[in-house]
Amino acid sequence: MGDSVVAIVGAGQAGFQTASSLRQEGFAGRVFLIGDEPALPYQRPPLSKSYLAGDSGLDELWLRPRSFYEKERIELVIGETVTRIDRQGRRLRLGSGSEIACDHVVLATGARFRPLAVPGAELDGVLPLRTLADADILRRRLGEVREVVVVGAGFIGLEFAAVARAAGVGVHIVEVTQHPMGRVVSAPTSRFFTGAHVGWGSTISLGAAVVRIDGGGGRVEAVELDDGRVVPADLVLVCIGVLPNAELAGDAGLAIGNGIVVDEYLATAAAAISAIGDCANFPTRFAEGRVRLESVQNGVDQARSVAARIAGKPAPYDKVPWFWSDQAELKLQIAGITAGHDGSVVRGDPEAGSFSVFCFRQDRLIGVESVNRPADHIVARRLLAGEPRLAPEQAADESFDLRAHAARKA
């Protein structure tokens, strides 16, 4: 093992964690960490939260200082793309033309923002939010603009909207479905956040699509909706989801389908090539079938799993997924995957701004969404790690001691 070489493609949270965990697991070979952004590996969540708001700086964004990589003998190759995986020759070809010979490839290539395919999307002021460079532009522009249109009411869009309102900017959120964050949260949670954003002064148009973006002098001026309305805007944030970066794997002949297809060990059909994090499509007992998850937890825990396997301790990946979103004074915490639930009960009082939605499928607890109710979130993570025996009536009954119930099971 001392002589083998691991090349990690992608220097986001999952890639960084793979490198770090390989050393913690005692892996003594060479470790390359290759990222296409010019910056040191950094955390993405603050980009739409505290960093965007100007409440935190670059020092709080770096996952580790530069000296960490030297100390741990992690060969950091940043500002560099990987253009090809040579499976036979066991080497990576880089955009600069050089090559890295390696025994194991970990694809942590992440995802990229999905562009909005309408006329005018190329105008100045129509912006994505995915990278540090994106966040730096938005942070500066937020101080200059008056009217923002947010296209897409997912986590990123709503977090951005909350920051923009707090900065005194007018916000109009346009969402093509009837349910903000509807891909990942239940109807009660979606409704609650819709109301919260309206309360903070945002306008929300549901079931509305952008058909065109108008500008003058190359700069955005307004957004045209499919119901004929024209909404003035001097900044348009496009946040309609992401596309997994799976092309490198596809070009190497590996199976792709909503991400890079891996087994329960996070290995592709080629055992020496793994995929983790936002780009990986994996089987899980926490959903029906396979999923691809975009979260810190998923990236970090999958990185640990692959690092342990490479270091000689293979085990199937089986961590409870969890997610969070900060929107003004509201903290949304999700344990499990609630999509696909066929029943739900609310614990607590949405009117008071503190509640949880317990989601069930065929009477089995599959996930819990908590708003300003961290104790429920922690209990949910405990319950879901085992075989969660919790009846909907128990979940809804605030006199039922969930904590004691979870402890009994543990």
């Binding site: 949270q13 200082p65 961290p374 922690i378």
Partner: protein, 107 residues
């Protein structure tokens, strides 16, 4: 600049100058102190920046929020009365000399 001492499970000590306004967690991360993982970056989602605060200093640090209390139930190492999440310990001048003990494991 306040000085913070991180004591590893084997007794080794890292003494780090941490600027006022920076958390005890960040102070460790930026200075390569092993034993603090901080995978959520200080959002109170992961409990991987768990420390035990040396008792004499308990009165000089900010109280626990409900979020922190809840998250401390999820620590990988034993929770003790002195357990804190170091991301919530934002350094003040009064915390100069603070000693924190790192747990056996964070994950």
């Amino acid at each position: 600049m306040p000085s913070i001492t991180y004591v590893h499970p084997d007794g080794a000590r890292d003494v780090i100058e941490v600027p006022v306004g920076t958390s005890v967690m960040r102070g460790a991360i930026l200075n390569n102190v092993d034993g603090i993982v901080a995978e959520c970056g200080g959002e109170m989602m992961c409990a991987t920046c768990h420390v035990y605060v040396d008792e004499p200093y308990l009165a000089r640090i900010p109280p626990q929020s409900d979020d922190e209390k809840a998250m401390l139930e999820f620590t990988a190492s034993e929770r003790k009365p002195t357990s804190r999440l170091s991301c919530q310990l934002v350094v003040t001048p009064e915390m100069d000399g603070l000693v924190v003990y790192l747990p056996e494991t964070q994950v």
